[in-house]
């Protein structure tokens, strides 16, 4: 049974690892994403140079971004930075999973941040996307003043 403690800066450990559930990429996922970002490239539904349709390269970014939710209850946060290296196209019918490692945490100007290195892989363990992201933690009971 997994327990889900609240995510706090103090609880977070550099070096701790996260893993997502496996997700089957469906044509419906690709269609919904195309609507959300208003990008209807023909490669998403028809043939592409890779043989068959491929997804938008950033399709699975939220799977990576939500990795910390696999261990913690996250009160609120803001996304500060995102990096991608697109290694292979994401094809419908692929089962994908993201893994991440916390590589840094720091406080700056009274705000708390965590940095996660991630990889999104297909069912054979082939890396599709690698990168890292920085997230700000908004502690419970506080407000973010906006920027």
């Amino acid at each position: 049974m997994t327990e889900f403690p609240k995510l706090t800066y103090e609880a977070l450990t550099v070096g701790e690892q996260f893993v997502s559930d496996t997700h089957l990429v469906t044509p419906e996922d690709i269609e919904a994403y195309a609507f959300a970002v208003d990008d209807h490239h023909s490669w998403f539904t028809e043939d592409s140079p890779f043989g068959g349709p491929v997804a938008h390269p950033t399709l699975m970014a939220n799977q990576a971004l939500h990795l910390r939710h696999s261990k913690y209850v996250v009160h609120a946060g803001l996304h500060a930075k995102m990096e991608f290296n697109f290694l292979e196209p994401i094809r419908p019918g692929t089962r994908v999973r993201s893994r991440g490692t916390v590589i840094d945490k720091y406080e700056r100007r009274g705000r708390q941040y965590m940095v996660t290195e991630y990889v999104t892989e297909d069912g054979n363990g082939t890396p599709l996307v690698r990168g890292q992201f920085t997230q700000m933690l908004i502690p419970e009971g506080t407000r973010h003043a906006g920027r």
């Binding site: 919904a32 994403y33 609507f35 959300a36 970002v37 208003d38 990008d39 490239h41 023909s42 490669w43 592409s48 140079p49 890779f50 491929v54 938008h56 390269p57 950033t58 970014a61 939220n62 971004l65 609120a76 803001l78 996304h79 500060a80 930075k81 995102m82 990096e83 991608f84 290296n85 697109f86 290694l87 292979e88 196209p89 908004i138 407000r143 973010h144 003043a145 906006g146 920027r147």
Partner: protein
Amino acid sequence: MPVAEAVAVGQELPSLAKEMSQRRIDVYSGVRPRSIHTDEGWAHQKGFRTTLAQGMMSTAFVSEMMTRLLGAGFVRGGTLSMAFIKPVYAGDRLTVHGVVKETRSEGGRTRVVVEVWCQNQHGEKTAVGTASGLSPA
């Protein structure tokens, strides 16, 4: 869709315009209570004037711009790094921009490096960064 055959340093890419409707934000983020993206009351409690789009949506817009420029050389071999410097609110209108800042040889092809940014309807930059990809073989 056209893919650039020749890219010059200093070249400005065709900009994209994106309307940040709540409907699109809902589909992107998934509707949840206690979410600054989809729960307006919660966004107010957290100090924002309304719901926010995920910063990640801007990376998708840049990805679209780069795929238009480089095609398959962005989908396989592309890179993208962005910092989200200002909130994007539901109802905002973003424009997505890019200027080629470098080209360099890589494995017999050319890597095209582009300075990218998004700005809102007030002319304020909301996200800035760099993207790159490989020109057509």
